[in-house]
C-alpha cells in the first residue's frame, strides 16, 4: 500500500505492545487500476517517495479511516492519489501475510478498478507524485507484494470478462466492434474470428448501433455502438446469462 503518500513516515507499533488484548493490525486498501491501450492492458502505478520501497512503484492506496466503509476508502484513495473517479470498482482479495510490510502488520484489502484509460491519460500525470500507466508485461520493480496483487487482479479480469459485461468499462461509451473484439483478444490472450465474434456479440442484443462512426481514421470509418446497460439489467432479472 502507498498509505504514506504525503511523505509523513509511518512508524510501526512496538512489537507486543498493544493497548487492548487482541492484535490491532493496520488496514489499508490498494487499487489495481486497469486500463486498455491500443495493444495492451495497463496498470496505474504511483512512485513511492518514502521508505520502505522508496522510489519503487506501488499501487495507489492507503489507510482505511475509522468511519468509512472499505469501498469508500478505496474510492477516496483513488481520487486523492490519481484523480480517478466514477469507475467500475470491485473488491478483489485481502492480503494479510504477516511479513508483507516490513514495518509491521498491515492487512490490505485489494480492489480492482476498470478505467477508460483515455479519460485519465493526462490527469494522471499531473499529481504531485509520479504516476504512470505500465503495460502488464513490462512492470517496474514493485513495492511490497503488489506484483502478486496485480497478478491476481488480471486473473480475475480474465475469468470474469467472459461471463459478465465488464469489458465495456474499459472502452469509451461509443466503440466499434473491432475495438470490442480487440479488447477480448487482449484480455483473453487469443485471437478471435471477426465474423463469429460479431455474430455472437450482436446476437446477445446488448450492444446497439448508434448513428455515429469513428472519427479521424485514415480509412473507412467503423460504425460505433454502445452497451445497453438497462437492457442487460432487465435480462439479468429474467435469468439471462452473459457469455462470450
Amino acid at each position: 500500500m502507498a498509505a504514506d503518500k504525503k511523505g509523513a513516515a509511518w512508524t510501526p507499533p512496538p512489537p507486543g505492545r498493544h493497548v487492548y488484548e487482541y492484535p490491532r493490525p493496520a488496514v489499508t486498501v490498494d487499487c489495481v487500476v486497469l486500463g486498455l491501450d491500443a495493444d495492451d492492458l495497463k496498470v496505474l502505478l504511483i512512485q513511492r517517495g518514502v521508505e520502505p520501497f522508496r522510489h519503487a512503484w506501488a499501487l495507489p492506496g492507503g489507510f482505511v479511516k475509522d468511519d468509512e466503509d472499505l469501498d469508500e476508502a478505496a474510492r477516496r484513495e483513488l481520487r486523492e492519489e490519481t484523480a480517478i473517479e466514477d469507475v467500475y470498482l470491485e473488491q478483489l482479495y485481502t492480503f494479510g501475510a504477516p511479513g508483507r510490510d516490513p514495518r509491521g502488520r498491515v492487512i490490505t484489502v485489494a480492489y480492482y478498478v476498470l478505467a477508460k484509460l483515455s479519460d485519465y491519460r493526462v490527469k494522471a500525470a499531473t499529481d504531485a507524485e509520479n504516476v504512470g500507466w505500465f503495460a502488464l508485461d513490462r512492470l517496474p520493480a514493485l513495492a511490497f507484494d503488489h506484483a502478486a496483487i496485480i497478478e491476481r487482479a488480471v486473473e480475475r479480469l480474465r475469468g470474469k470478462v467472459r461471463y459478465a459485461p465488464i469489458g465495456f468499462e474499459l472502452l469509451p461509451p461509443r466503440f466499434s466492434l473491432t475495438q470490442l473484439q480487440r479488447l477480448y483478444e487482449i484480455v483473453l490472450e487469443r485471437p478471435l474470428d471477426k465474423r463469429n465474434f460479431r455474430k455472437k456479440i450482436l446476437s446477445l442484443g446488448l450492444v446497439v448501433e448508434t448513428d455515429e462512426v469513428e472519427q479521424g481514421v485514415r480509412h473507412r470509418a467503423a460504425r460505433l455502438y454502445r452497451f445497453d446497460r438497462k437492457k442487460y439489467e432487465r435480462l439479468l432479472k429474467q435469468g439471462f446469462e452473459f457469455a462470450i
Copy 2:
C-alpha cells in the same frame, strides 16, 4: 464474528483515542461452512454466549493473531470452535462497514468452507458451545451482518460450482452419480435431466467408476464413482475448462 468464544467480554476502544496516528481496527476471520444434507445445503453455526448478540447464532470465527496469515487464522478458528479440519477453504469477501459490530470497528475477512457434512455431524455437537447445522432457508436470527455474509457465500458457491469441480468437496470420496446430480440440483436450484447429466459428467472424464456400490439401501444399489483430481490438474495445465 464470534471472537470472544471463551466468554471473555471484549470492550471496544475508546473512540478517537489511538496510540498511533492511523486507525487500528480489529480484524477477524469468519467461516461460512457449507455442507450437503440429503435435501439441503446447510451452514454450520455456533451460538454466542456473550453480549452483544448473546444467544444469537453466529459464524465460527475470531481475531487474527499477529503472526498468522489470514487463511491460517480461518483454519485455526475452525479447528478451535468446531473441530473441523482438512476442508476446502477459500477467501470469500471482506466486510468492513463501520457499524457492523456495535462494539466498534471490526473488519472481518470471510471465508467459505466446503465440508463433507457426514464427517462432522457428531463432532460438531461436542464442542463446549452450541454448534449446529442449519438449512439455508431456515436460518435462526443471526448476529452482526452474518446473514449477509452467508448469502454471499451461497451466491459464490452457485456461481463457482458450474465452472470448477468444487462440488466434490461436499460429497464423500465415493459417490453415486445420482448423489452428484442431486448436489447440482440443490445448489443450482433447478432439476437436471438424468440421462443428459450422466452423459455430460462422464464425457468430462473426471469421475471414474470404482468397483464399489452403495451400501444399505433398500433397492438396487448404485455404482460408486470417485473424482480424479490428478487427472483434473493435468488437464487444467492444458487449458481444459470444467463446465457443467
